[in-house]
Every structure is written in C-alpha cells, then in structure tokens.
C-alpha cells in the first residue's frame, strides 16, 4: 500500500515521515524545507507500506518548483491513500488545501499535527465533527514528540480497505452549475486518472499547466474562456478570486463548526519572538548569534583537532622505521594515513559543532526570522529575504544550499541566489580557512576572510541585478512560531548530515590522497604542476607544487589543504609559505570553481549552460580577487 503525505509547508510532514521511517529526510522549522520527495518502506505487522514524503504545497495551484513536484506526484495516481498533514494551529488556512484534495477522490486520512500548539493558542478542535464532514478518519498527532504516530497506519488501512473517499464540499449553486458545464465537455481520452471536477475547477481558476494541455481542444478552451468571462461579469471579480473566495468561505464555515476558540496562553515565546525580530535589537542579536556559532565551532574544533592531528603526525613520522622509505608501499601508506587524518582530524572536529548549531537554529525557527530581518539588505542585491535560507545552508554545504533555491518563485531569483550561494564558504572551505589562515595567522584574519567574502557576494549580487533586473514584487512568506528543538531530532539530523560526509567525502579524500602519493612516486606531479605554473606562480605568486592541490580541490575543497601538507612535504606550512601566500591560496580556494558535488546540483537546478557560466565566472572571480589581494598585501602587508 502506498501512502503519500501531503500538506502545507512546515506542517510537519517530514517529522512524521522520519518518525515512521527512521531518519531519512532533513526537517526544519522553515516553510518549504523538503525540496524533493523521499520514499521509504515500512513493515508493520505483516503489511508493508510504502510511504512518500512530498514537498509542502499551499494549494494544488503550484507556485514554486517544489510545489509543482508535489502536485505532479499526487496527480500521477500512484498513491493508494493520501494522508493530509495539517498544522492544527493554522487549521482555517490548511483546510483550503484539504478541500482541493477532496476533489482528487483518493482515500484520505486527515492528520491534525502539532495539536499541542493549537491548544496553546486556545483552540479546541472537534475531531468527530471534522471526520463526519469529510467522511474520512481524522487523527491527532504531536510528531516531534512521537505522539499519535501509531494511529497513522491504522487509519490509512481503514481508509484504504473501506475506500473512504472524501466528500466533496459544494460551492454556491451558480458556481457549481458552471463547473458542471465544463465537466460535461472535458475530453475523456486525455485525463483518465484525474477526476473531471478537479480539472473543471482548475480550468476555471486559470491553471497554467492544465490550460496548456486543453489547448489541443480549441472548442473546450473557448467554452472555458466564455464561462470565465460570465463569472467575472456577474461577480465583478476575476474568476480565480471568486473560486478562492468560495473556498475560503467554505473553510471558514467548516473551521467555525469544528473549532472552539478559548483564551490563548500568553507565552514567553511571544516575547522572545518580539525581541528576535525587533527593528533595532534584532540586528545585533542576529550578529551575536551567528558570531557566537562561528566562535564556538572554531574553539571546539581546535580543541579536538590538535590532539588528533598530533597522533597521526607521530604515526607518519614513525613510518620510515617500519616500511622502507622511497618504496611504493611507503607512499601508499603515507597517502592513506594523510587522507584518513585529513577527514578525521581536520574536517570532522569543525563539522560536528557546525551541524549542531545549524540544526538548532533551523529547529527553533530562527531562519525565517533572519529572512525577515535581512529582507531590506537582500533587496540591495536584487533578491528578497527568502534567499537567506539557501545562503545559510550553504555555510554547511553548497549542495543542499543550491537545492534550497527551489523555494524561490522566479527562475531569475533562483539563478542569482544559486550563483551567489556557491561562493559561500561551506564547511569544507571553512576547514581550509581555519586550518590555514586561522591556524597560522590568527582568528581575526580568518574572520576577516568571512567578511571579505560577504562583501564580494554583495557587490557581485548588485552587479548581477544590474544585468538581470528584478521583476517580482518580493517577499511573501509565512513565519512559523518558535519551537523548542528536541534533543533527539538535533542529534539525528546532525548524524544524517555527517553521514553524507563520512560515506561520500571521506573515502574521496583518502583515495585522492593515495592517488597524489602515486603521482609523487612516479614523478607525474611535477609535470602537472609545470602545466599550471603560469597561473599558480606568476599570477597567484604561490609555490609551484600547489598547482596539483588546487586541481584536486575541485573534487572536495578541503582536499586542497590536506594535499598541500603532502605536496609541500611538511606539517608546518609556515616554514615553507609566507602569510601572503597562505591568504592567497585560501582566497583562491574559496572562490574558484564549485566542487564536483555542487556542479552536479547546479546542473540539476539551472541546466548545463548556466552551470558553465557560473563555473567560468567563479574562476575569473577567483583570479581577479587573488590578484587584487596580492597587490594590496604587497603594498600594505
């Protein structure tokens, strides 16, 4: 049996899904976090369920790319039961999607999630009454605490075997007549799986995709247009507004029939929320929070890194005593150890605290508040507040950052945000910044690089906006209530993110490190370095050996640094490179071409051509910036 979770953004679908399937998807207190769907198999008793977590959709009229995916999936008719997940505290709005789902005529379960939050707002919802109105099971859950999740499969089975198809709620008579008129003329052959009523309503609403589809039948299209005009002249409003008002009126009726509103509990959360988005205090708080996270990450990271690295160093130093130096085995072992320690010693100490910090910020719901605060600033670079999310996620890893651009409505915003996102120093580049500039020059210089990076992004954003002017009016975004993150969820999410690094990046680090050893053994590295020397030595002013490390950095950015130690044959870089060289190396690593994983994500989101543009742009940018900084440092340094 296949069950799809459908609901508005931030209703808790992914939390429910994770609760049922074990941790598979990333959840966050940010509308539109799930950008692609996840399928998982769960066996309960003797029955296997296939559950699908879909991106949140506000309505079946898709607005952004993520919503379009959900809708496509729901309409494909692959699901046996739809579980409509509703944030109970926003019931009045959420029911509008429920009304649209009833039109699909698939067995349904209504799941009122976050019922605790609704109670805090003073709402009492009558489940039996709601169940009677729609003719389907209605259950209550508090997904983040695991309450009520067991009822989901039971109700889904009931809905499936008893074929509990939701009852259609009728609009006013005059509109119903028009819908019927259209239903009659819809060509049978093309829309077998989708109920006629749904098509008729969506055509009346002027749905772009369906209207495109119906263009093959000019007589149908003309009739729809005619009816739309009739409604417009009789109601004095656009037909889509009329339908939406009808739906709104229906939901308000249902909402009032099933809900009793009492006194909301005045909470300290409201007061904290007020402070976080305060027009004056909000900004210093924002700065303190972000600065605090970076400070803690840096301090904790250093605390773990130093002892770990010294253990591996002593290993490597003892190696010549065990295996004959200059033998191939020695080179392979050395590469293996260096790759292994690079992952364990350099990356993981910084990744774990960073992921924990990011997860806590996400689960509390601070990110949408940041979007609110940053809206004005983002307009300066031709974007709006929502672009903050891809940016912040990119500090962890650019791949999910680029994918998060799907929450933006226009292709233009997606392009600019993705281009700027790949310039943000991800965890990999953070290890380079901390490991080179932070360790050898100091924390202030490392912080300076972050500020320099932001400055470059702002300028580039302003330039891109000049070329691709803004059309959209800007920010329209729900701000979800603040929530207290659960310990378990924070740990599981951190693990989920770390797993990606351990399973994908770490082996890559080790293999590349061994390959570099091979190249060294067969003296091929010198040839590659020679080929790159015009760029590396003349323009960047770096030692020739760094050419190969920069090439490997395309696989994973921290590889550049880990291989740098190997290529320069030292564990103390300050002996062989000047501060200026370390800074230039780091700046070049931050900006030049995104890593392979990010390029893959860019191709998926923007297409090959735009990815190529972004890649070339970033290489040019890296060269220009390195050159400018080199000149500046030689004058003032």
């Amino acid at each position: 049996m296949r069950i799809a979770f459908v609901g508005q953004p931030n209703a808790g679908k992914s939390t429910i899904f994770n609760g049922l399937a074990g941790y598979k998807t990333i959840t966050a207190n940010f509308p539109g976090q799930t950008v692609h769907y996840t399928v998982s198999k769960v066996t309960v008793g003797d029955e296997t369920f296939e559950i699908v977590d879909l991106p949140g959709i506000y309505s079946l009229t898709a607005i952004d790319k993520a919503e379009l995916e959900s809708r496509k999936y729901i309409l494909s008719g692959q699901t046996d039961v739809v579980v409509n997940v509703i944030d109970a505290s926003t019931l009045s709005r959420s029911l509008e999607l429920t009304l649209q789902l009833t039109e699909l005529q698939v067995p349904m379960v209504i799941c009122l999630n976050m019922i605790d939050e609704a109670r805090r707002k003073g709402m009492e919802i009558d489940l039996n009454k709601l169940s009677k109105i729609f003719g389907v099971p209605v259950i209550e859950t508090v997904a983040n605490k695991g309450i009520g999740l067991d009822k989901i499969f039971i109700s889904a089975k009931e809905a499936h075997y008893k074929r509990l198809i939701p009852k259609i709620q009728s609009f006013h008579k005059d509109i119903e007549e028009k819908i019927e008129e259209i239903e009659k003329i819809i060509p049978k052959e093309n829309f077998l799986k989708i109920p006629k009523r749904y098509i008729a309503v969506k055509l009346l609403e002027g749905d772009e995709e369906l209207t495109e589809e119906i263009k093959k039948y000019p007589e149908v299209l003309n009739k729809v247009r005619e009816i739309r005009e009739e409604i417009k002249s009789s109601h004095g409003r656009h037909t889509d507004t009329v339908i939406s008002s009808e739906r709104h009126a229906l939901t308000m009726n249902i909402f009032e029939a099933v809900t009793k509103i009492g006194e909301p509990l005045k909470s300290t959360r409201e007061k904290i929320d007020d402070l976080l988005t305060n027009r004056y205090l909000g900004y210093p708080l924002l700065f303190l929070i972000l600065f605090g996270i970076f400070f803690v990450v840096f301090e904790i990271g250093k605390l773990i890194e130093d002892p770990l690295i010294s253990i591996f160093d002593s290993f490597i130093q003892q190696l010549p005593g065990i295996v004959k130096e200059d033998s191939l085995t020695f080179f392979i072992l050395k590469g293996l150890l260096e790759g292994f320690s690079g992952g364990l010693g350099v990356a993981i100490p910084y990744l774990i605290p960073f992921f924990i910090g990011l997860t806590i910020l996400e689960d509390i719901g601070y990110l949408p508040r940041m979007a609110f605060l940053m809206d004005t600033l983002m307009h300066r670079i031709g974007l709006h507040g929502k672009s903050v999310l891809p940016f912040i996620i990119s500090y962890g890893c650019n791949v999910p950052g680029v994918m998060a651009t799907r929450i933006l409505e226009s292709p233009r915003d997606r392009f600019i945000t993705a281009t700027l996102s790949v310039l943000i120093p991800c965890a990999a580049r953070t290890t380079v910044i901390f490991g080179l500039v932070g360790a050898y020059i100091g924390g202030i210089a490392a912080a300076g690089l972050y500020i320099f990076n932001l400055f470059v992004i702002m300028i580039l954003g302003a330039i891109l906006t000049k070329f691709i002017p803004e059309i959209r009016p800007g920010l329209i975004m729900e701000i979800p209530p603040l929530r207290i993150p659960t310990f378990k969820n924070v740990l599981m999410k951190t693990w989920l993110r770390l797993k990606d690094f351990i399973l994908v990046a770490w082996p890559l680090l080790i293999i590349s490190s061994i390959i570099l050893s091979f190249l060294e053994y067969f003296k091929i590295d010198a040839m590659i370095n020679l080929a790159f020397s015009p760029l590396v030595s003349w323009i960047l002013g770096l030692p020739e050996q760094t050419g190969l490390t920069l090439l490997f950095g395309i696989l994973r950015k921290e590889l550049s640094m880990i291989m740098l130690f190997q290529a320069m044959d030292t564990t103390d870089l300050s002996k062989v490179m000047t501060n200026t060289q370390l800074i230039i190396f780091t700046i070049f690593t931050i900006f030049y071409i995104p890593c392979i994983g990010t390029i893959g994500a860019l191709i998926r989101e923007l297409g090959t051509k735009k990815t190529l543009i972004v890649s070339i742009l970033t290489i040019l940018l890296a060269i220009i910036l390195s050159l400018i900084i080199r000149i500046l440092l030689s004058i003032f340094g």
């Binding site: 505290s89 709005r93 939406s244 609110f372 004005t376 009016p473 329209i476 701000i479 209530p481």
Partner: protein
C-alpha cells in the same frame, strides 16, 4: 487610499483590494490572505523593510513591494 505600508504596529485592518497580477493574488490566497479578511499588523515596515502580519492566528511576512499593493482600512 491607505496600504499596508501606512499602518502602525498593533492596528487591525480589513483588506479592501489587492492590485497586481494573478501571481501575487494566488500566492497571497494560498497563505490565507483574501479580500475582506481582517489582519493585525505585528511589525510595521521600518526603513523599507517587510511588514509582519497576523492572519487567523499565524504570522506572514510581506516585503515592501507586496505590502504597497494591498489596500486596507483600519477597523475598530
């Protein structure tokens, strides 16, 4: 005519008109903002920043551009 940009903190307003294309209209409708709805201004726009509204018990942020296209009148 007053828009959402000219309303002070804490005031309740009724939405009279939403100008602009189908895109904005539908997006606002999806978030539960319709003509005739009564919303509370939680944070008014500051230095061209967004407006924070409370609609039926939840919060929605609207950028300056969008807010300027929503005509309202104060109630109470």
């Amino acid at each position: 005519m007053k828009t959402l940009l000219n309303i002070d903190n804490g005031k309740k307003v009724k939405i009279l008109k939403i100008s602009g294309g189908k895109g904005i209209r539908q997006h606002l409708q999806c978030l539960g903002i319709h003509i005739g709805d009564i919303v509370t201004i939680k944070k008014s726009s500051f230095l061209g920043g967004p407006v924070l509204l409370e609609v039926n018990g939840y919060d929605v942020a609207l950028g300056k551009g969008v807010a300027s296209r929503i005509e309202v009148e104060e109630v109470e």
